[in-house]
């Protein structure tokens, strides 16, 4: 039986009808081959609009559907469902985008109508060759892997565990807690970071539904949504987690030193003990020390002379023979919450971070200011004296095309927080050198306002350099910041005792590796690309892999926590479904044609195309295939086809574009 195509042209109010001559287009569509009915309607996406096509399908009037309206990214699913409700395979529907890529971007005139016609002709030709596809279902393993034990991972894991679902939380450091554990206070509320974080860390450690793997790294992720196989490498901690009770006797006696004593005095900044066997910080979860193999006198030395910690340990928990071990398990979904690292300012030589004592990074300041840090929370210069003037330099590594183009979002706020903390603890003058103050969150602008009244000196200008070359007596022995006060229009030299570089956030150096293993992409900024910048900020292009926190982009704590909860609820909704449909528009190998040249095997980013040694042909694992079509374009024999994007369908579309009217002269929409 001949193919009968129904074409539905949407006015979209005046959005389309205002620019495109609908009557003319309807007339044109009627003349196209295989088109058996053409209708136009004010809003095709409305219920009556959908009902229109649904009914025609039900009535058996048509067996292919073309809707000419907005972008398929907008309503392809809407109309697919309507088509399906009418009783037709949803893949027998296609769209012509005559709004976003036609009426909205061109002027009122014949050329816009002509373009709409061409696009419809192309869609009709394509529709003629469409084939029904069936979706497949796979079961979902209810266990979830959370990568990263910072506040994002903690939140996500707790949400899931509280919902009664099993979670494996993998953290690369010896303790969970992440960056937040290093902070003393949080902006803008100035509440104690440890006070709000520690209870959550403890819950994670104790929760029956959470399996915690610290000091561990993801080694391999295989499989696909609902059915991932994960291999984790547990690094040797040299302390038996079952036996240790965290008493601390071991590090009391340890003669090794993990944090170098020489050089910039601030390298001593550490939250936990500076010995080779150490606890990262006192509230660590699990509260079990770890031996730093690089500096441990026993492990470094072939004679193994030291062994003091083992002697001290009453429970015989020290095990120098411990080795890394690989653990394999299965999960259904993955939440990546692997966090960020701070920008290393030593590459900006003019800020003198490597060269000048008393130029420190924001994170160093956090530790210095933290009561449990090595200065006991005292803000002091390298020589131990109290600074009289402190400068805080914003945008170090951020908003700068030489380093990172993006705004790191948290630096303005934490810089304000520092100003307050400094004022609270010292009598020092505080200068803020900023380009723009970005205080966009709840209570943030109010915090800025408060700081303005606390006599913090705000200088608008990007610091040109930090130097120790004095030009007058007042500058002798000081750090001098040279900056244009752009609001005054004059260059200022400001002598200071300490300069804090508000370093931006950047993707963790291991993020790319983690992303690769989970089959998601990182963008040019180094962060993981989310599924959609607006409508899919939590999901990724790989089904079953979700994002939380600063691995997606720089974020503050509230946003991170919100995203973590969003990720866990996305996972919950997956788990609750129990089964998941997988992409129908996948690639497919015609095994009769495949010669087994293996050319396609390297092309698939998801490793969905594998060589079947027995059959001597390549095969596509449909569960892994995302339908990008790269293998199709690479197959030399034409044995692989892309369902729904077959060569002949695209050829038909091209022919369709040129099947219409001779192109008319048009005017240029400029001027």
């Amino acid at each position: 039986m001949a193919v009968r195509i129904g074409v539905y042209i949407c006015h979209c109010g005046t959005n389309i009808a205002g620019k495109v001559d609908i009557d003319e287009v309807v007339e044109f569509a009627r003349g196209l081959e295989n088109v058996s009915l053409v209708k136009d309607y004010k809003f095709m996406c409305s219920d009556p609009g959908q009902a229109l096509l649904q009914k025609d399908v039900e009535d058996g009037l048509i067996d292919r559907v073309v809707v000419a309206s907005c972008s398929p990214l907008m309503h392809e699913n809407t109309f697919r469902k309507a088509t399906e409700r009418g009783g037709l395979n949803p893949y027998l529907f296609t769209m012509a985008n005559i709004r976003e890529q036609c009426s909205w971007v061109h002027l009122d005139g014949a050329e816009t109508t002509d373009k709409a016609k061409d696009l419809i002709a192309a869609a009709v030709r394509r529709a003629f060759l469409l084939e029904p596809l069936t979706k497949r279902e796979v079961p979902i393993n209810p266990r979830t892997l959370v990568i990263g034990g910072g506040i994002a991972g903690i939140q996500a894991a707790l949400d899931l565990a509280e919902a009664g679902k099993q979670v494996v939380l993998v953290e690369r450091e010896p303790s969970i807690g992440g960056h937040m554990a290093k902070f003393d206070k949080t902006f803008p509320t100035l509440d104690c970071s440890a006070c709000i974080l520690t209870p959550r860390m403890v819950s994670v450690g104790q929760h029956p539904n959470i399996e915690l793997m610290t000091y561990s790294e993801i080694e391999e992720v295989g499989g696909y949504v609902g059915n991932f196989n994960v291999t984790v490498r547990k690094k040797a901690r040299y302390v038996d987690e079952q036996l240790c009770n965290g008493c601390g006797a071991c590090w009391e006696k340890c003669p090794g030193t993990r944090v170098p004593r020489k050089g910039n005095v601030h390298e001593k900044l550490s939250l936990g003990p500076t010995t080779s066997i150490y606890m990262p910080f006192m509230q660590a979860v699990p509260a079990i020390p770890v031996i730093d193999a690089q500096t441990c006198l026993y492990l470094k030395d072939d004679q193994h002379k030291c062994g003091l910690c083992a002697k001290e340990c009453e429970r015989d928990a020290i095990n120098y023979d411990m080795e890394d071990e690989s653990v394999e398990f299965e999960v259904g979904n993955i939440i990546i919450a692997s966090g960020f690292q701070t920008f290393d300012p030593s590459v900006i030589k003019r800020y003198g971070y490597d060269r000048l004592d008393n130029v420190i990074t924001a994170l160093q300041f956090e530790i210095m200011n933290c009561a449990s840090g090595s200065t006991g929370g005292k803000i002091q210069k390298a020589d131990g004296s109290e600074p009289e003037a402190i400068g805080i330099v914003h945008c170090v590594g951020s908003r700068d095309e030489n380093y990172h183009e993006y705004c790191s979002r948290v630096c303005c706020m934490y810089s304000l927080k520092y100003s307050h903390l400094i004022k609270e603890k010292t009598n020092a003058e505080v200068y803020q050198f900023y380009i723009d103050m970005r205080c966009f969150g709840k209570g943030y602008e109010e915090f800025y306002d408060r700081l303005l009244t606390e006599d913090v000196r705000f200088v608008r200008g990007k610091v040109a350099e930090v130097t120790d070359v004095a030009m007058n007596e007042a500058e002798e022995g000081k750090l001098i910041v040279r900056v244009e006060d752009t609001l005054l229009g004059s260059v200022r030299r400001i002598p200071l005792d300490m300069v804090i570089l508000s370093t931006g956030l950047e993707a963790h150096h291991s993020l790319k590796d983690v992303a690769n293993k989970c089959n998601v992409s990182v963008g040019s900024d180094g962060f993981i690309i989310e599924k959609h910048p607006k409508l899919g900020p939590v999901a990724t292009a790989t089904d079953g892999v979700f994002l939380a926190g600063a691995c997606q982009s720089p974020k503050d704590i509230p946003d991170t926590v919100a995203q973590a909860s969003a990720a866990s609820s996305a996972v919950l909704s997956m788990i609750t479904r129990e089964k998941i449909e997988i992409e129908a528009a996948t690639a497919e190998v015609n095994e009769d044609k495949c010669s087994g040249c293996k050319l396609c095997n390297t092309l698939c980013p998801y490793l969905a195309v594998k060589f079947d040694e027995e059959k001597g042909v390549s095969v596509v694992n449909e569960a892994l295939c995302k339908g990008c079509g790269t293998c199709v374009a690479g197959c030399p024999s034409g044995a692989i086809s892309a369902k729904h994007f077959e060569d002949r369908q695209i050829f038909a579309e091209i022919e369709g574009i040129f099947s219409g009217l001779e192109y008319k002269t048009v005017s240029k929409p400029k001027g």
Binding site: I348, R350, R355, D468, V469, M471
Partner: protein
Amino acid sequence: MKYTYYPGCSVTATANLYQESIDTVAPSLGIELEELDDWNCCGATAYMSVRELMSFAISARNLAMAEKFHRDLVTPCSACYLVLNKTNHYFNDYPDMRSKIGKALEAGGLSYSGNVRVRHILDVIVNDVDMEKISSQVTRDLKELRVAPYYGCQIVRPEMGFDDPDEPESMDRLIETLGAETVDYSMKTKCCGASLMGTEEKMALALCRDLLMDAQKKGAHCIVTLCPLCQMNLDIYQPKVNSLFKTDFKIPVIYITQLIGIALGASPAELGMKRLGVKVSGEMKRIIEGA
């Protein structure tokens, strides 16, 4: 190692001592410089202010002539280094420029495809010559000599990639290889104001003063430079700085190649030392002669 050599106008005149020292030390370093025949002015700073395209076009003449040798083009002058590189950049990245420069060259019977790598002699010495080879040839003990390396601006900026634009260290490394001590000195890439000396003398002298002052304060016996303009500025104008700002600087400003020559045992005459405006004297003289 053979290179095509582009001396630049200054080196044939006010910086002739630079050339003398290069001629003296290059063979010991295993650097063979073959001068580009009939080179012309690179079209530097002053020219560019008036005629941009023209300056690129005449600069490109040199590049076009150098291209057929398939070797790196080496220049000792920072300004020439900058302009020749900039010509390459604009030629390669701006199609409109490329076609116009191409047409102009064609009028002179030349063509250029944009493939000459332009390098500064410091880059060549530091990166192509084996540092151990240099240190093995050192015959004078300069360990007491405190040297302030002065890079100036145009060798590291805009970023040419061979050293950091704010904190270059290649010359520091070289000086240490020669056995001398580098002084920790923040002004090493600050502008000396050479291009303003003719027109805005006071401003330029002030910039010189800041430089000399920092060097003196840090206890430098001499300043080592690699740019003809910087050298002339800091050297010839030093008395004028003194008279204007009531200072008393007597800091010799020598070329890096002269320092190499000293370390390698060449005589002052071979290195053009007598052409310096501020002569080597006092402590520095003692160290060099005592060594």
